[in-house]
């Protein structure tokens, strides 16, 4: 039922009397712009927008609350709807407009109980982008709204501001989008806790961003690296700082021509920048890497004679390290040149896993992980279609066992989980557009994973990663074998 706003002369309306004209809202407009009683028709200074007493205006909407309304991205929230009619079908929906202006949404279908309450943490969703009892489903099951272009990925670039999510409640299940929401609230999701300092690093040739927790310190440190997509992604480092680690998000691929020649030296210098920082405990610095970043972590731990990480975390493990080549890029060139062989599925998604598998079967192409002397945590998805990470983990375990270092290794492997194991409640991306660093070619890369198990893996692995880091960097004795 859409309608129109009717204006009338102020003189017709005396105080407290019904004016007899029905006020109807235009339901198609998502938000009302308050007039604050000011005249809104030009040239008619006595005309005011006025609301009337009618049965309609006596009904108040449901009460929607999200607690806490401001939280870190890895904290849970409780979404509660109250004051609904009993047994009433509603859809609870989340909406986020990303920094690159795409709309992402998630929604669940619910029915209120006898007291008119829907509790997303307690009740079951009957359908939508998630089903069942899923307190955080409104975040992890987000996907681009219908009509968006394919291959999108959601990543926060500016970590100084929160991710804004609007949670709303709508009448009904099918066709819930056809009406304006009954209620909506805004919630903030932060990567940075209050008091964290963010410092741009550009020294000794190293580029990145350093995050320092509030307080006197000293703190343990972490070198944080993403993968082959290049660029400088700060969000995980910011989140790790929110958990008490001085974290350096490192830019190591593609910020200028020089990066083509990145040797181990670049990473050692970056590691030392953290280690030598006055607020860092110099013997408690670890390395955290995903994909290509995990390859860097492993090679630093195995080969560096300059730095000694206290522990390393490798998500979507990679140990491809042929003898030829001195830099990250040049060693990977062998693989890059063969990527044309990668299988492309019927959805036009490129699967690199097979190519990688061929390469790592040759033992001369593998890093000597038996030389690692620090606690190592490998986190992998069994449905990883981008790199043979599970096979890599098996291989690492075998080599470390042969070297008598098995006690240093912990492995987590999650079924139906893909390559991009992100912080908890991040949406799952099965395939996204990817720009190949060397050729600048755009492909639709298949990462793998099924949304629900992948999201469970993100939540579970993060908790275990934090626990691993806390044990080795905050309490346990350093450089000793104990997991």
């Amino acid at each position: 039922m859409s309608g129109v706003v009717i204006y009338y002369s102020k003189s017709l309306c005396t105080k407290n009397q019904e004016c007899g004209i029905l006020f109807v809202r235009d339901l198609k407009s998502p938000a009302l712009i308050p007039t604050q009683g000011k005249p809104i028709l030009q040239g008619r200074p006595n005309w005011h927008l006025c609301r009337l007493f009618s049965a309609m205006t006596q009904v108040v909407p449901p009460i929607l609350s999200v607690t806490p309304s401001r939280a870190l991205v890895d904290e849970k929230f409780k979404v509660l709807v109250e004051n609904l009619p009993p047994g009433y079908p509603v859809t609870v929906r989340s909406l986020h407009n990303s920094e690159d202006k795409h709309d992402w949404e998630a929604y669940g279908h619910y029915v209120s109980d006898h007291s008119g309450v829907v509790s997303v943490s307690e009740d079951l969703s009957y359908g939508g982008t998630y089903t069942g009892k899923e307190p955080m489903g409104l975040l992890w099951s987000m996907r681009p709204v219908p009509g968006s272009r394919p291959g999108l990925r959601l990543r926060k670039m500016n970590v100084c501001t929160p991710m804004l999510v609007t949670i709303s409640v709508h009448s009904g299940h099918e066709g819930f989008r056809d009406q304006a929401p009954l209620a909506s609230v805004l919630t903030e999701r932060w990567y940075m806790a209050p008091g964290i300092q963010r410092i741009t690093i550009n020294e000794q040739g190293v580029q990145g961003t350093l995050f320092i927790p509030p307080g006197p310190g000293p703190f343990p440190g972490l070198l944080d690296m993403w993968g082959g997509g290049g660029g400088l992604l700060e969000y995980r480092a910011a989140l790790l700082a929110s958990h008490g680690y001085v974290s350096l998000a490192l830019d190591y691929l593609g910020f200028d021509q020089e990066s083509e020649n990145l040797e181990l030296k670049y990473f050692e210098t970056a590691f030392n920048i953290i280690k030598d920082h006055p607020q860092v405990m110099s013997d408690r610095v670890g390395i955290f890497g995903l994909s290509l970043g995990s390859l860097v972590a492993v090679t630093l731990a195995a080969y560096s004679t300059i730095i000694k990480p206290c522990c390393i975390v490798c998500i979507s493990s990679n140990h491809y390290y042929p003898a030829q080549g001195s830099t990250v890029a040049s060693r990977f060139e062998g693989v890059t040149r063969q990527l044309y062989k990668a299988r492309v599925n019927e959805d036009n998604q490129v699967i690199w896993k097979g190519v990688g598998l061929e390469f790592i079967t040759d033992p001369s192409n593998i890093a000597e992980v038996g030389r690692i002397n620090c606690p190592t945590l490998l986190v992998n998805g069994c449905d990883d279609q981008n790199w043979p990470t599970v096979e890599t983990a098996e291989d690492v375990a075998r080599l470390m066992r042969e070297a008598g270092k098995e006690h240093l290794l912990s492995r987590l492997a999650y079924p139906d989980t893909g390559h991009l194991i992100e912080p908890p409640f991040s949406p799952h991306f099965r395939a996204t557009t990817f720009v190949i660093h060397s050729s600048k070619e755009k492909v639709l890369l298949l990462w793998g994973g099924k949304t629900k198990p992948h999201s469970d893996a993100q939540e579970d692995s993060w908790r275990k990663i934090l626990s691993f880091l806390q044990f080795h960097l905050y309490c346990g004795p350093c450089l000793k074998a104990k997991i």
Binding site: T67, P85, W190, P216
Partner: protein
Amino acid sequence: MDRKQYCVKLSVQPSRGLMDEKFIVLVQNALPGSQLTIRALHQCEDGHSWEAFGHYTADTTGTINVSEDPSIGGTYSGVEQMGLLWSFRPIPGSKSGLRMRKKNIQTPMEVTISVYQGHQTEGFADLVPLSGVAVERWYMAPGVRRIPVTEGGLTAALFLPSGPGPFPGLLDLWGGGGQLVEYRAALLASHGFASMAIDYLTAKITMETGKMVDNQYFETAYRVLQQHPQVCGSKIAMIGLSFGTSITLKMAVYSEVIKLSAAVCISGSHVQPVDGSVEEILRFFQKNGEKTRFSEKNEVIWRDLLLPIPTDPSLKVNVGRLQCPLLLVVGEDDQNWPSQESALDIKEMMARAGNSHLLTVLSYPNAGHLIEPPYTPHARSSTLKTVEIEEKVMCLWGGQTVEHSRAQEDAWKKMVVFLKENLYGGRNPTSFSHL
């Protein structure tokens, strides 16, 4: 130096909370059995520093959980989850008579919480903490909008909850100190009420013309609120503290324009010349000025100005004619207004008139006059400049800190439930298809 010292981990969850939300303060990785002090520090807008601290002993796992473990000394003791906020007091050396009130509610209150070795009671500025975190406490939830209101000569601020609405409305009045006090209205908007904080003693129009506002001022505020497209015009309540209670009761009973769905009156009285304007009511109080007493610390006690409760009906709002639910909040140690005696008289008047089913009284032993939102530090006395007297006086509000803080927490919770029930509840529609 023991390496273990550096590994103490302090966390506060949530690190960004609303002013009435609880947090969990957790210390981990401390030496088991070690003595530690957890301290909160805040610098308020006028530059004064406030601190609160508790003395703890880490358990066998090296953990302290403030919501479960007892403090054995400091500015609070026992198991006090929020003691680090409500027991705030000015740091030693501060001038006396301070009161913590936030003026700019669009920014958060910033609190630093730190943990120190040993049981410390002073000299914190010279100590290096083992760990520290920053915590934000907000009066405004995300999406709440603040809209200044100046039409009709009003000096007010409207806080709208996020969402399409319509929302029930609330008129929010403070007391004799005047000014536009916004924080309670902002917090209530964060709970779903379109709340308008009103300055009615030092309004722009009063400062410019020298004349106090008349009763129409409040009716204008009501109309502006009622006419707002995002306000449910038939569900408006009024909340007043201290002198704000006088206005609330007067409007609730006598105004032909203002039709309230509920009223909340904190630390106030129904005693006033019944047909009086704001100015006349103030003059009535001044006439009884000689009943002012002083404590042994020379703090002003004004509770006797309205005592004894008159029997003359022209001197009391006729609460027997009240048609909406009324919640009275009373601190039994109120030294500024005779709120307890007034509450008793209101109860009797309503019983005689047959409308006492509308009345709920929350009466708190050892609570004082300033019953604020939860975890607001208790001020037993503070300097005050009212609109009636030119110079500042030290005013005795009353209350004992622990009981007063409990009263604030309990009264707020019950007040929000009361408002929700009367403004949101009642009729459960069978559908929303007409919205």
